[in-house]
């Protein structure tokens, strides 16, 4: 299984990932997964990530003393990215199959 951004969350992540993959392959893909059965494990995992973010933020800053990440933490960055995605999702969902011509 892939590792977590926060090594201290690897264990909860693995528990959640295993649950999800089992649910996904055995239920969702067979059209029987209307409900996410791994929500409780996901909350544990998410909680771990949230608690770990302050450490992560300082780790990134110390690796990157002059960088653009200095002023804002990664949690804010994610927040922004998520906001950004909401907009593009809305566009994406409205879009019909219109492909952009290849430019050479």
């Amino acid at each position: 299984m892939s590792s977590s951004l926060a090594p201290e969350c690897n264990e909860v992540k693995e528990r959640y990932d295993s649950c999800f993959l089992k649910w996904y392959s055995e239920k969702y893909l067979r059209g029987k997964g209307q409900k996410d059965e791994c929500a409780a494990l996901f909350n544990d995992y998410k909680h771990c990530l949230t608690v770990s973010f302050p450490t992560l933020t300082s780790r990134i800053i110390s690796d990157d003393p002059k960088g653009a990440l200095k002023e804002r933490g990664i949690d804010k960055m994610l927040e922004e990215a998520r906001e950004d995605h909401k907009d593009s999702d809305a566009v994406h969902m409205r879009r019909t199959c219109k492909f952009i011509a290849e430019q050479n």
Binding site: S2, S3, Y24, L29, D36, L49, L69, A81, H85, E102
Partner: protein, 240 residues
């Protein structure tokens, strides 16, 4: 300036297998630069049954030396020796009833130098009229169209700076020269990025295929075993 790259491909595996492989694609032997993957949100739309997932991947990355040479020091704040870590935000929506998956990945840093957005549309294909070449799977194949868009905003930034700092007399001449050279840099960065993208798309296809083959042979357990073995051999062969 915006540049597009588009390609189509057909995986010789069923749609469910391809979506599972998408979630399981890291780590694989072709993606040793991916350091971590986390799911940060996941939900099912009750009305449509669509599954929405947002993940964040951390990658070790290296700017190509050719790009480094082109960039002024002022924009290279967080790059030392061309090595850095970068974060990729990936969103995906799967509709298992209709048989499609749409994904989008984009970089969260260095966006001032280059923004890259990769979109993929996977589509279930069950084609009974076509008799396979012997390697086909009973449950059909999966088509994918990949679109990559890059945009270098560097030129805009440099131009804005040049405009601010210009004196009166030389303004026109300097402005013209500044915009000419930054346009050149921008074009070069985009050209290099697009060459790298072709290479990278090949690798991500290979990675998916490795995972799909493991799925076909050994199911989920086969994939997880393969990951463990990759990690062991990685320790043996690579030096970081």
């Amino acid at each position: 300036m915006v540049k597009f790259y588009e390609s189509s491909y057909t995986y010789d595996y069923s749609f469910p297998a391809v979506t599972l492989a998408y979630f399981l694609r890291y780590p694989n032997p072709y993606s040793t630069h991916v350091l971590s993957s986390d799911t940060i949100s996941r939900s099912i739309d009750e009305a449509t049954g669509q599954l929405h997932t947002t993940r964040i991947h951390r990658k070790s990355s290296r700017l190509p030396p050719a790009v480094l040479k082109l960039l002024p020091k002022s924009v290279l704040g967080n790059v030392s020796g061309g090595r850095s870590e970068s974060y990729i935000l990936e969103t995906s929506t799967i509709d298992v009833k209709e048989g499609w998956m749409r994904t989008e990945s984009k970089n969260l840093d260095w966006t001032g130098i280059l923004s890259v957005v990769e979109s993929q549309e996977f589509q279930r294909r069950v084609d009974s009229s076509e008799v396979g070449d012997g390697s086909g799977v009973g449950e059909g194949t999966t088509g994918v169209v990949t679109t990559v868009m890059f945009r270098s905003r560097l030129g805009d930034r440099l131009r804005a700076r040049a405009r601010k700092g210009d004196g009166e007399g030389e303004e026109e001449k300097k402005g013209f020269l500044a915009s000419w050279s930054t346009n050149g840099i921008q074009r070069s960065i985009e050209a290099i990025a697009s060459r790298k993208t072709e290479n990278q798309l090949g690798k991500s296809k290979e990675g998916m295929t490795v995972v799909l083959e493991r799925l076909r042979r050994g199911g989920l357990v086969g994939v997880l075993d393969g990951m463990r073995k990759d990690r062991e051999s990685e320790g043996m062969w690579s030096k970081g």
